[in-house]
């Protein structure tokens, strides 16, 4: 069943004459892992932001269905509650807000939406320890303020840690692999693989084929100028690694001519 269905999505920037997405089509089935690659500025993060409900973007045309529902009708926090998770390309610092407080509110808000009981403090802390362990996240980080003073890699790991805590149905990873050292990449990939099951879906935005060796995608899409210019299986990532994007651009141009 389609977990996510994007049809002819056109997106601009609110109140400005800028168009970023020019008719994106993409279907992700439950249990699927798709990778999105593509040059800088092609619209990958914009797509992720629109899925998460960022207000500065305006949907000009097209629609998005998530689990059969009209996703665009939902507020960002409702989407989160329904199981949409975005691991940010640039995670934000929340000075003075403790990780524990933040995650507890977050987890409980999502649990409540799912009709689950609030976790007790003990259960919650236990879960935090387990997941941090699983991802090789330094337990000290979970005692600090959210992302405040975290290194680039620590911030990325922290995103995956939150993903593990929230157990979303649709996880979008926006360049989570960039800036991770080799060990971190492995533990992040392991974490993602552990969460992979028949009911969840993953959209992994990346510039590097490397991570796709650990979390093997069912499909690879190439975003160019706000469209999916080409889709293929995992071999496509390999091809891009070797030849870059120019050949796809040429092919698209040739097809259009």
């Amino acid at each position: 069943m389609a977990l996510l269905e994007i049809n002819n999505l056109h997106v601009g920037v609110e109140d400005e004459d800028i168009k970023i997405l020019n008719g994106v089509d993409l279907t992700l089935d439950t249990g699927d892992m798709h990778a999105i690659m593509g040059p800088n500025g092609s619209g990958k993060s914009t797509l992720a932001s629109v899925l998460a409900g960022r207000e500065e973007y305006e949907v000009l045309e097209g629609d998005i269905h998530y689990d059969g529902e009209d996703l665009l009708e939902l507020e960002p926090e409702e989407r989160a509650e329904e199981g949409v998770f975005l691991a940010f390309q640039y995670p934000v610092e929340l000075p003075g807000v403790s990780m524990t407080n933040f995650l507890k509110e977050s987890v409980n808000s999502v649990r409540e939406a799912r009709g689950q009981e609030e976790l007790s403090s003990a259960e919650f802390l236990q879960q935090m320890r387990e997941r941090a362990d699983m991802l090789g996240l330094d337990a000290d980080l979970t005692k600090r303020s959210v992302n405040e003073g975290f290194s680039g890699g620590e911030k990325k790991r922290n995103e995956i840690f939150q993903l593990a805590m929230l157990e979303p149905r649709l996880a979008i990873l926006d360049e989570t692999d960039s800036g991770l050292d080799i060990d971190a990449l492995q533990s992040v990939a392991n974490g993602v693989n552990k969460l992979r099951d028949g009911d969840r879906g993953f959209l992994v935005i990346t510039h590097y084929e490397r991570i796709l060796q650990y979390i093997v995608p069912d499909r690879v899409h190439v975003m160019m100028d706000g469209q999916i210019a080409r889709s293929g299986d995992k071999e496509l990532a390999q091809q891009l690694e070797e030849h870059g994007y120019e050949w796809i651009r040429d092919e698209v141009a040739a097809a259009a001519a």
Binding site: R54, L94, F102, S106
Partner: protein
Amino acid sequence: MSTSETEYLKGKASEDYKHGFYTDIEAETAPDGLTEDVVRYISHRKDEPEWLLNWRLKAFRHVRDRIDGGESIDWAHLDYEAPKFDEISYFSAPKEKANYDSLDEVPDEILETFERLGIPLEEQKALTGVAVDAVMDSVSVATTFKEKLEEKGVIFKSFGEAAREHPEIVREHMGTVIPYTDNLYAALNSAVFSDGSFVYVPEGVTCPMELSTYFRINEAGTGQFERTLIVAEPGAYVSYLEGCTAPMRKENQLHAAVVELIAHEDAEIKYSTIQNWYPGDPDTGEGGVYNLVTKRGLCKGDNSKISWTQLETGSAVTQKYPSVILAGDNSVGEFYSVAFTKGHQQADTGTKMQHIGKNTKSTIISKGISADVADNSYRGQVKVSKNAENARNFSQCDSMLLGPDCGAHTYPYIESSAPSAQVEHEATTSKVGEDQMFYCHQRGLGEEEALKLIVNGFCQEVLQELPMEFAVEAKELLDIELEGSVG
């Protein structure tokens, strides 16, 4: 002291308060205006010793001259009409009669907040001054509480009681940190002060509990000119809590309190305040309290320490600068403040750290938050005298704006005459970022939850300085204040 015990005492103490021990002195009000007769009347009514009357009279002559000279305070970033000193009534005895006949007369905003804070109905009545008819025997609790303190030799009394029962200690210290000549409102307070608290902690004694005005027995309406004096003898420690999270509607618009702290050698005084007085009508600001307070601590002995921590959310106009005079060598002064203004509230707050002794150290952390059309100013002075070798100060003043129409201002004044001094000042102004809000939303948090989290985070450095239970209340209060500030 366990939380439940504290809760219990709080409840009990406030019950005492509402029933009052004052049945025999049904209210009488002095004639309006500031005259020598009024000062004599106040002193007489309070059964004060001669020396205290004379002290008041000296202050009275001084303040009368200043008012007649046309003095007003116009340097602060505040816009309000100066009080008409000759139209104020300076004395009203504690009344058995309540401000309201029933809770129905209490403004809705206040009742809603009570609801949120989970304050029991009876206590709500006490706080708003609604007549209560339940009778309870709480004398035994009060006595246990008093016994505990007496065992250690700690004196915790109303100012008036202390002046009668411990004249030598009160006389020796009062007015030594804030002389009656200090400023207009302090002078006014010195002449006509109503009542307040007196705390004395003897040498080497750590006060066995947090002292809160909640617990003070026999506290009747301390009136608009509260006066507090805390003395910590060498090696003593005391933590004092003033105010409460419940919104307080005051009878009088003008409140000019004086708080003096004296820490002798190796002594430490921690003074925490939560102020949530009625800010006035949210749309017009009408009827709100003017809170014009002079608070100052003297680190008299070497290695002494005084810290002020405050959460200011109430009043229409707040003007206060809790300060520390660092006279003793190695003494430490701290100021941690959160001032939240919304609606039409105005706050001009800050501190003054005066370094006199060697190796003295001061820390200032100030967080100002404004919403709606409120105005919030920080005014801080760090003064290092010539002999204050190696004095160090660190100041950090952060402002957060929750909308386009509110204001934040920072006025740091630094004056250093000691070449070896290190003075550091940092200031930031921020809006709650779209990015931060979106990040929170993406994790399932709604508008209000997200804002609460971010603002609480912003204040964290200050809130963590509050005693535990006070901190929990403070957080809850901030949350309530933020409700309706979203958007």
